[in-house]
């Protein structure tokens, strides 16, 4: 069995793809198409690119309803559903808070209480209105900004795997920045893809036709007076998460895993029973 490896750099991270199959050139072609799909979605969903669909939405939706791609419409509806089911701890309208904490194109800095309060008033999926008939989205409040950083990578991985399956690939692993991983089948001579967890998490996860996502407070962060402020923000209180250190969720959908690992990091281990209840088939782990 042949092995083909491909990678691309987009969404500010590195995506790597491993494929196994009988025909190298077909595997390569399928892999290129899958990574091309990720690059296309990165351009569509970018918070930063001035010609992205998300940028257009953020710029215009508080003024007028904005017609969006039906698949983006579905994506945003799924995000709204996840926000409800996670009690608001996963929320893609986190853009104003990211700006307040200078995590947009900057390294991060402590905002004032007023800035946090202002940003919180502009945060919440309740401000995003959906019109099914016209496939359009509107914000009921100026200043709302959708930022898909906590969902887009998993979504892109999911779509890439969809492309691989359509092209007949039966054994593959794709990850984005090692924090979001999804699989098709298993590697040759093994029942699962084995994923080792780094500290503060520990152990190994077995994946086969499913996905996992890790969220952690480390990574992009800054220190003030000895305290570390990480880039994962709690949309409920406007502050960086400071309870759990890392959370991992395994389940069928890479995008749902990504949303749930963020929510689990915010809510901590106490939320694990609700996660199991509201999201059957998904399991989580937390390092406090």
């Amino acid at each position: 069995m042949n092995c083909v490896q491909l990678s691309t750099h987009t969404m500010a991270t590195r995506f790597e793809l491993v494929l196994y199959g009988n025909n190298r050139s077909r595997l390569r072609a399928a892999g290129e198409e899958a990574l091309g799909e990720i690059e296309r979605l990165a351009a569509q969903l970018s918070f930063y690119a001035p010609d992205s669909e998300i940028h257009h939405l953020n710029t215009h939706a508080a003024i007028t309803p904005v017609r969006v791609n039906p698949r983006l419409f579905s994506l945003l509806k799924s995000c709204a559903e996840l926000t409800k089911k996670t009690d608001g701890t996963f929320d893609v309208t986190i853009g104003p808070l990211m700006r307040a904490w200078r995590f947009v194109n900057e390294k991060g800095a402590l905002p004032t209480e007023e800035e946090i309060a202002q940003a919180l008033s502009q945060t919440g999926m309740k401000h995003v209105l959906f019109d099914e008939e016209t496939c359009s989205v509107q914000f009921d409040h100026p200043g709302i900004e959708i930022e898909l950083g906590g969902y887009g990578k998993g979504y892109a991985i999911e779509r890439a795997l969809e492309s691989l399956r359509e092209n007949g690939v039966t054994n593959a692993l794709l990850h984005g920045g090692t924090s979001s991983i999804a699989t098709i089948g298993s590697p040759p001579n093994d029942a699962h893809w084995k994923i080792a967890l780094h500290p503060p998490l520990a152990g190994t996860m077995n994946l086969k036709n499913d996905a996992m996502s890790v969220s952690a407070v480390h990574g992009k962060s800054f220190i003030v007076d000895g305290r570390v402020y990480g880039h994962v923000l709690n949309p409920k209180n406007g502050w960086p998460v400071n309870g759990a250190q890392a959370a991992v969720v395994q389940g069928i959908s890479a995008s749902v895993c990504e949303a749930l690992s963020t929510a689990l990091l915010v809510k901590g281990a106490d939320w694990l029973p609700q996660l199991a209840e509201y999201f059957p088939g998904y399991v989580g782990l937390v390092a406090s």
Partner: protein, 420 residues
């Protein structure tokens, strides 16, 4: 705002206002389209050919206020099913004649493999539909001429060539800038498109795979010069207001020896009048430096990448004035003066172009192209990317591919660019 900032902003407004006098019509196009098109009903399009590039077309039109997809056509059912996710209300068929005859279709977008364009274009024009035909028009001069002649014979129907670079707000801005003579005497153009890519398409069955990989066969494809380079050739034809008189080419298959018979690496030298030459290179072996086109003249050089552009002035060229305050970036050892395509719109919003916002344009070239085409249909104006532009770019690409495949220098008679 301190005094210095105020003076600087006033200066920029004044400087840009004078630029506006020179550049206004085209520069305002991008900004104005979104405001003008929604007042008329969206144009109903039939999309014929639902392949890889059509994903971009569908995604672009799904957001548009000026266009809707009312029909989808492809012989491959799974592709149609997939396309319906983005255009859920469209009628689907595997027969293009049903699209061109449908009263629900006002205009067709032809995005099939290049060698299949001709019959569809002729049928669409015969049925009275407006046509957006992807570039290159065809893989042979005869087919390209048949397409262009049929379009010219139906002047009441709008025909737009799929040369979206012509709609790129940045490219249009720089085109006007070049017309002011800022380059000085044009000396040469260097252009490349590099990406490490097999360029092969995957499919679940061998039959579908053979259909999808038409571009890897010299029977149906004009290779990298045709499917990629055409956009860069068109840019040079447009900016230099000139057409090539000869082309030399070289091609090799370095990396992807998988049965294809079009090279994965090509070099072309196109000769234009007054001894100006364009070097075009493209490889599927290395991604280094991606894609760009560089115009070099006696006063300055202009570098264009997809969404961005820079001017680098010669030390002895005259001061233009405004560039003192323009945003600048390092281009290796040079200082590049940033070109900002939406400058006019930004100034209207009270922002300093390139400083308070991104340098990149806010609407993609493809989106602008479809808005422009829809506008041309509704308002009976000329589309950007005319049939003649498309034909001439196609001829340039076909001749460049011929040179690559033969390894010879080929003269291009002037008459070949004429349709009469």
């Amino acid at each position: 705002m301190n005094d210095d900032t105020a003076i600087r902003r006033d200066f920029l407004k004044g400087a840009a206002a004078s630029l506006l006098v020179m550049f206004s019509e085209d520069d305002l196009l991008a900004a104005s389209l979104r405001q003008t098109t929604p007042s008329t009903p969206p144009v109903k399009f039939g999309l014929i050919g639902v392949g890889q590039w059509s994903k971009e077309i569908l995604a672009t039109i799904s957001r548009s206020q000026s266009a809707r997809i009312s029909a989808l056509c492809d012989p491959y059912q799974p592709a149609l099913k997939k396309a319906l996710e983005t255009a859920p209300n469209a009628m689907t068929t595997n027969d293009y004649r049903k699209v061109v005859e449908s009263p629900e279709v006002e205009a067709v977008i032809i995005a099939t493999p290049t060698h299949l364009h001709k019959d569809i274009v002729l049928a669409a024009l015969q049925a009275g539909k407006h046509v957006y035909c992807e570039a290159p028009f065809a893989h042979t001069i005869d087919d390209a001429k048949a397409i262009a002649s049929a379009a010219q014979a139906n002047p009441k129907l709008k025909f737009q060539a799929g040369l979206q670079g012509r709609s790129n707000a940045m490219y249009r801005h720089i085109s006007n800038f070049i017309r002011t003579g800022v380059l000085g005497s044009p000396a040469q153009v260097i252009s490349q498109w590099n990406k490490k890519l097999s360029w092969r398409r995957a499919a679940p069955t061998p039959e579908r795979e053979a259909e999808l990989n038409w571009h890897l066969s010299k029977q149906s494809s004009i290779g990298l010069p045709g499917e990629i380079g055409i956009h860069q050739f068109d840019l040079v034809n447009w900016y230099l207001k000139s057409l090539p008189i000869a082309v030399s080419g070289f091609g090799s298959t370095i990396n992807w020896k998988d049965g294809r018979d079009v090279p994965d690496t090509v070099q072309c030298v196109l000769e234009y009048p007054n001894n100006v030459r364009m070097m075009f290179t493209s490889t599927l072996v290395s991604s280094f430096s991606n894609s760009y086109t560089l115009f070099q003249g006696s006063n300055s050089s202009l570098m264009l990448r997809e969404k961005r552009g820079w001017m680098v002035k010669e030390a002895d060229s005259a001061l233009l004035g405004w560039e003192v305050y323009a945003r600048k970036e390092n281009l290796h050892d040079e200082t590049g003066i940033c070109m900002v395509a939406d400058a006019t719109k930004l100034l209207e919003e009270g922002k300093e172009p390139g400083k308070e916002s991104s340098m990149e344009t806010r609407q993609s070239a493809l989106s602008l192209a479809f808005d422009n085409f829809a506008q041309s249909i509704r308002e009976n104006t000329n589309p950007i990317g005319s049939v003649l532009d498309g034909y001439r770019a196609t001829v340039t690409a076909i001749k460049a591919h011929e040179a690559v495949m033969s390894g010879n220098k080929i003269a291009i008679p002037k008459s070949i660019f004429d349709l009469n």
